[in-house]
Symmetry: C2
Subunit: 360 residues, 2 copies
Amino acid sequence: MSRVFNFNPGPAALPLEVLESAQRDLTDFNGTGMSIMEHSHRGKAYDAVHTEAITNLSTLLGVTDDYHVLFLQGGASLQFAQIPLNLLGAGQTADYVNTGAWATKAIKEAQNIGTVNILADTSKDIPTTMPDYATLPYTPGAAYVHVTSNETIAGTQIKCFPKTDAPLIADMSSDILCRPIDISQFGMIYAGAQKNLGPSGVTLVIIRKDLLARAPDSLPTMLRYRTQAEKNSLYNTPPTFGIYILMLVTRWLLEKGGAAGIEKINQAKADQLYSTIDNSGGFYRGTAVTEFRSTMNVTWRLPSEELEAQFVKEATALDMSGLKGHRSVGGIRASIYNAVPATAIESLTSFMKTFQATNG
Amino acid sequence: MSRVFNFNPGPAALPLEVLESAQRDLTDFNGTGMSIMEHSHRGKAYDAVHTEAITNLSTLLGVTDDYHVLFLQGGASLQFAQIPLNLLGAGQTADYVNTGAWATKAIKEAQNIGTVNILADTSKDIPTTMPDYATLPYTPGAAYVHVTSNETIAGTQIKCFPKTDAPLIADMSSDILCRPIDISQFGMIYAGAQKNLGPSGVTLVIIRKDLLARAPDSLPTMLRYRTQAEKNSLYNTPPTFGIYILMLVTRWLLEKGGAAGIEKINQAKADQLYSTIDNSGGFYRGTAVTEFRSTMNVTWRLPSEELEAQFVKEATALDMSGLKGHRSVGGIRASIYNAVPATAIESLTSFMKTFQATNG
């Protein structure tokens, strides 16, 4: 078997150890005589998986008893609506920061539901950037403040989360668990699983318990956070296989030294890639301002679109997959999530130097 | 490896061939060097899976160009709200038939959203039963008529779908693809995947195109059927692994002779089990009226709860799993979905005779 280096933006690389473990157990989970996919979500075998996933996430993120860890469905896209439906009351204002494509989508859904105040808009800035979160004009008494911790397309990432009076909500879809966070700063964090946590089809929501009461009873049962909070995410059948893979990923992260351990690895990977860009004498040009460069999605340009196409083509031939920038912005994007190994960065940076020597 | 006979009500048995195929390809899908879970939902490898899943489903269910085949998330539980949110306009009435626990949940959500007329209520009847669908007092000009084709807990199943003036909507979660249907009778059918289609986390919706326009623009993007209809279920990241398994299940069904082929197999399995019950001289007592007996969930009682507990315990020791009736009704339930092999029924009926001989 030959595995390629996978730089996909999401769904994305998973740790090979996790896949191999799932492979071994796929027709017979832990000697139970059936696949984890075939187990009842109310049975002992799955319950152990579900509980370990929550326990491991709580350990990795320092989640206290003030919060619920929920496994939902529908991705960040459904959260964009579910957040204001649950938390933005009539007559209230929600603060949003627009830092790119994903924040824009979150804002659009919220505007359809209630009153939104946009604190800053860097979504059209070139080079891509983020605002100074410490000095934004937060609305007194806002229902909440919504930020996007990592913009997958723009290649930008919040380096220091603000301390806000209103509950801070962060879309961490593309950088959750890439580093330690102080959960007490947040009212809620959420993430589609398909970048740093597991396969698509699971949405992780960690929400402070006092926020659950805000949702009106008129909201459909499945859209109220408290429905799943009261039932430990088992009100209805959860996406059991996805949660199982997520659990294996959390085990793998604990073995890597947890959030602090993986942060070091991630920083080293990102440093190697950015320094290759910065030391290319302008042949490679990073598209994000240095201050907000993402450690997860590294974006850059080449001197021409022709060279970019050639770069992607040659890299693909060398078993480096997923390097084409998002269709909306072009260029090159290397998504180097937790599960992308250091050897992938070595292979990529080595190729970048060769490519420049030939075409520079 | 020893596989048990899996009579779970859902998540439930999957064809061993499907699991083995997924197992082989889990770290390297079709020689692409990555797992199907790691592939982009917008790439060629996954696109072929997605397209084949839709094509196979269309073949198996006779779906014409008048319909969209959608892969959603949130299970039937979210559909219970999504249906009235999309299709029940202000001032309109939706007809519902209450045949048990699942219909009751669907009705409760709809009542929270609009005006509901309950055409018949057999949900409390003992023995469990269903009404005569041909003679129900359908509301003239109703927005739609909602039925539950198979009540998983009650062990009942619609044998002949009514021809209604209003669009007929059927929750087929627990018996989709167990038999051929005439799709032209329906405005929409839907099913959580975790009984007859694949793992939990995928919801199949097949909806007539003319119904898509009914949803108000004020409805959140992710809750409007037309959002995913316009994007071929790729508006956001779909649950790719679940759809992949579903695709493998549809391939397996085509090899079994499609819906008509599996219907014959299912009928033979159900006949064997029901005749064992009926020929037990009253030791085993079926809980559903003969006319509406489900071919998917076979429910029966023993002379005492003690014997029922002993029956489940001994069956489990003989590698027959999942036979305990739903906690709300007790008794025994054997869920014998498409993927439960005939050998499982032989094993079960053989055990039933031995158990009766010893304890009868």
